[in-house]
């Protein structure tokens, strides 16, 4: 475990990125950050700016317009950072999968490190996912995907879409 990862796991600043979610996951994320769970014990705090973030919690299906913004926001995050998908929507699309505004799975254009299924997942599930991510980082089993260049990010989300975005 190198110094970067060690430092990262001891002080995770969480940024919350809601991409046209139904709000239930967002409420559960905020629940997880309330004094009842007291994540500051582990150095986890909520930040308002993507530039201060280490851990991005994304929720929602990311429709055509939100996907472009999400990609832009992710490009602004300082490396190394982690992306955790919260809820069933970014995992499978759930019932929105066949909807007219469904673009493609977020994993196609975001490097997602972990998934937390559930509709919505409980705060305990979110915390457990973050703990697993931290353990994975510390044991070396998980390398932040933003540091890997596996070529899964397409330049163009959908041709011609940016014009009317």
């Amino acid at each position: 475990m190198n110094g970067t990862i060690n430092a990262l796991t001891r002080s995770l600043n969480v940024f919350h990125l809601a991409g046209s979610a139904c709000n239930n996951c967002d409420i559960e994320i905020l629940d997880a950050l309330t004094p009842a769970y007291d994540l500051e014990r582990f150095g986890i705090t909520l930040v308002g700016s993507i530039r201060h973030a280490d851990l991005l919690l994304v929720s929602g299906i990311f429709n055509r317009k939100a996907a472009i913004r999400a990609k832009e926001v992710l490009a602004q995050a300082p490396k190394p950072f982690l992306v955790v998908a919260i809820g069933g929507c970014p995992c499978t699309g759930l019932m929105f999968r066949d909807s007219y505004n469904w673009l493609r799975p977020p994993s196609d254009y975001m490097r997602i490190d972990a998934y937390v299924p559930g509709c919505p997942p409980k705060p305990e599930a979110i915390i457990s996912a973050v703990v697993k991510v931290i353990e994975g980082l510390r044991s070396g089993a998980l390398i932040p995907r933003c540091l890997q260049n596996d070529g899964t990010i397409p330049e163009d989300l959908a041709p011609g879409m940016a014009d009317n975005a």
Binding site: G3, T4, A7, L8, R10, S11, P35, A36, D38, E40, R41, G43, V47, G48, S49, R51, H52, D54, Q76, P78, K79, P80
Partner: protein, 308 residues
């Protein structure tokens, strides 16, 4: 040789290293007490150190189209300012002979540097939210500097000297009516100078999402956080020196202990205010500082002049 000594003092004790460690510990006290107020456990002792260390490993993002040089220079300016201020203060505290004429004025100017750095950095980042935060910082500074300087005049009038060393003579201005009023004004202004609630509009997390510091990441952000932590440590020390006649003057261990307790009380007052008040609007803050606070400050100066 003397130059080397000054450089060592600036970098280690009582300059950068000492103030940084003390400041980060103070910010831990702040977070821990906040946690206890909210009935939770709170962060471990070394959490502020981990936060700074993590930021040093992060990438530095420079916004496109901004003033890159100024953007990267601003945090250094703030850090240098507060380090020098703390160094002058502690040199005088440890050795009252190390004072020079007008060092209090130099100190007041140096303590403006962190706010100035936030301002310059935010305007250099070419982010609309940051410039909004920066403009709020300007207004806030214009608002609180007048009563703060007026209140600092009270101990100067009491000691009849503008040198820090002469303020350490053991007499406490706070025992007089004008001293009490001036201390109250100073506590209020300190809250604004540290941009903590209720005067944290420049960084308002809910509306400006980080405000003035929104574009900063990595080491520059670490510098800003360090500067804030060091200010959180230095400002109460300055207040103890001004109003209680010094932390470590006199023989034996009792004066430093009492000085530390007074410092802790001032920090605790600041934390309790932070946890029990909501954020005010910028116009309310300006009205508050130029209205009641300035009037009380002028009253305190007048009383001190008349010998109360």
């Amino acid at each position: 040789m003397k130059g080397n000594m000054v450089l060592l003092e600036f970098l280690f004790f009582p300059g950068l290293l000492f103030t940084a460690v003390a400041g980060l510990l103070t910010s831990w006290v702040d977070r821990k007490v906040t946690a206890l107020v909210q009935m939770r456990v709170g962060p471990p002792l070394l959490q502020p150190f981990h936060d700074i260390r993590k930021l040093l490993y992060k990438e530095t993002c420079v916004p496109e189209g901004g003033a890159t040089g100024l953007f990267l220079l601003a945090p250094l300016l703030g850090l240098a300012g507060v380090t020098l201020a703390s160094m002058i203060l502690w040199r005088t505290l440890l050795n009252a002979e190390a004072t020079f004429v007008g060092d209090l004025i130099v100190l007041i100017y140096l303590l403006v540097m962190p706010a100035l750095a936030v301002m310059l950095g935010s305007f250099a980042s070419r982010n609309p939210l940051a410039s909004l935060g920066g403009s709020r910082e300007v207004k806030l500074m214009i608002a609180y500097e007048l009563p703060l300087v007026l209140a600092i005049l009270v101990p100067v009038i009491h000691a009849n000297s503008i040198r820090l060393g002469d303020l350490l003579s053991g007499q406490a201005p706070v025992l007089s009516l004008s001293g009490v009023l001036a201390l109250l004004v100073c506590i209020t202004c300190t809250q604004a100078k540290l941009t903590i609630v209720p005067f944290d509009m420049p960084e308002a997390e809910t509306e400006l999402s980080g405000g003035a510091l929104i574009e900063y990441s990595g080491p520059p952000l670490a510098m800003f956080k360090l500067t804030r932590a060091m200010m959180l440590f230095t400002m109460p020390v300055l207040l103890v020196v001004l109003f209680f006649g010094g932390l470590v003057s006199g023989p034996g261990w009792l004066p430093p202990l009492i000085g530390f307790l007074l410092w802790f009380v001032l920090v605790a007052i600041s934390i309790v205010i932070r946890n029990t008040t909501p954020r005010v609007r910028i116009d309310q803050a300006v009205r508050f500082f130029w209205g009641p606070v300035s009037i009380v400050a002028v009253l305190a100066v007048t009383l001190a002049w008349l010998g109360f």
